[in-house]
Point group: C2
Chain length 244, copies 2
């Protein structure tokens, strides 16, 4: 029996943003594993086993997928967005490193439309020049690493995309992020809050750094901060291709 | 007559990475505009006008799309990868800013799989933690901005993706990039050269910064540099979810 693990990106929400290769991988799956709301996006099918699990269960989920594959199954791990951006691909390789007996298993990572790029497209082109992607959650890294990266990104005049900007368990941290940005950037810097991108609930709101408040972000929001040249044209926000 | 401009991302090359919404937009187009090799990816169709143009013609191409839309046509501008990442979306908004008479035109940007995420998926998950995307071409920005950003990215311990690392007209610059990385990072830092990702010509090569040479990159290559924790497991390269 020759099983497999495939990690796929479902994109930010819209079915029309799921790539054909991901749709084909889902059709071949014997088992689908993932965080509850992502598995809920998969249509049930006779014979297809669905394994929804909790948010903080990434490593256990990855280990389970490897076990299924070792037994000959075709496990598909679903991520929102792209599996390689703050998602399940890294967790799978961590699990693989810890379990060398599984290193013969066929693994495939299939990219998806990550939230920041869908958000940027909905807003215009705020990431059209050099940019950084930063996960603002300190679940897996010290907060001072996040602060340092924010300052380096600002001093490099990178546009930035922030994932997981704010949650109920750490409501104060995004306020601190705005403080740091205000120390490093001008008050007129444009910042876009993109909530529930590509779904029926999508809201795109752009304001200046001076106008931004912590309440504008929640866990369904990706935040895009422009660079020093990012500007508006009509209702759009974009970063020109040149640096100045 | 109510025309439109849609800027779409064709992904890195594989047809199976083109999203259904992009395929649908192409099917509705009256005119398709883009850089010669990207327009060559579109199947000819009776009544569909193809407008291939040169590499350095982005602004003129964007202006042409706005003119077509103003005359009632449905212009689709095709980009490789994602249109918002070093591609045509910013050029369109630059053209729009210069031509306010077109600001009523319906514009849609449709995201695509950008090269760095397809490359990361093929290599494992080297961008699985905070990362930067930097365009190494100095066609539109001063070289010292690029050097400064490289240093800020390295000092923030970001993984990095480099677009347009090397071309015939500036063969020496990628050598300078490697020099800067060697000043800022340890010699064992992993660096992945991903050429022609998702096509039949795909080659993924990972080595250490000490082993990297300028000739490993060309214009069809996206270069991924790990952060200080990026490691190998079997034939894969990944960045763990934690910072240390």
């Amino acid at each position: 029996m020759s099983g497999s693990v495939t990690v796929v990106g479902l994109g930010p929400g819209a079915p029309a943003m799921v790539t054909p290769e991901v749709t084909a991988a889902l059709a071949r799956a014997s088992d689908i594993l993932g965080y509850v709301p992502y598995v809920a996006r998969i249509a049930p099918l006779a014979g297809l086993k669905l394994h929804p699990s909790d948010n903080r269960e990434e490593l256990a989920r990855a280990g389970h997928a490897l076990e299924i594959a070792a037994a000959g199954g075709h496990a598909v791990i679903v991520s929102s967005g792209d599996p390689g951006v703050f998602a399940m691909a890294s967790a799978l390789f961590e699990a693989l490193e810890a379990a060398p007996q599984y290193q013969h298993i066929a693994i495939t990572i299939l990219p998806g439309i990550t939230a920041m790029l869908a958000a940027a497209a909905a807003a215009g082109a705020p990431l059209g020049h050099d940019f950084c992607a930063i996960n603002l959650s300190d679940n897996l890294k010290p907060w001072d690493v996040i602060e340092h990266r924010l300052r380096m990104a600002a001093r490099g005049d990178f546009a930035c995309a922030f994932y997981n900007p704010r949650s109920k368990s750490r409501p104060h941290q995004f306020a601190r992020v705005l403080e740091i940005l205000r120390e490093e950037c001008e008050a007129t810097r444009l910042i876009t809050f993109a909530r529930a991108v590509s779904t029926a609930d999508q809201v795109i709101h752009t304001c200046t750094l001076a106008e931004a408040t912590p309440e504008m972000a929640d866990m369904r929001t990706v935040v895009l901060v422009g660079n020093s040249t990012t500007r508006r044209v009509g209702s759009w926000v974009y970063s020109p291709r040149s640096a100045s």
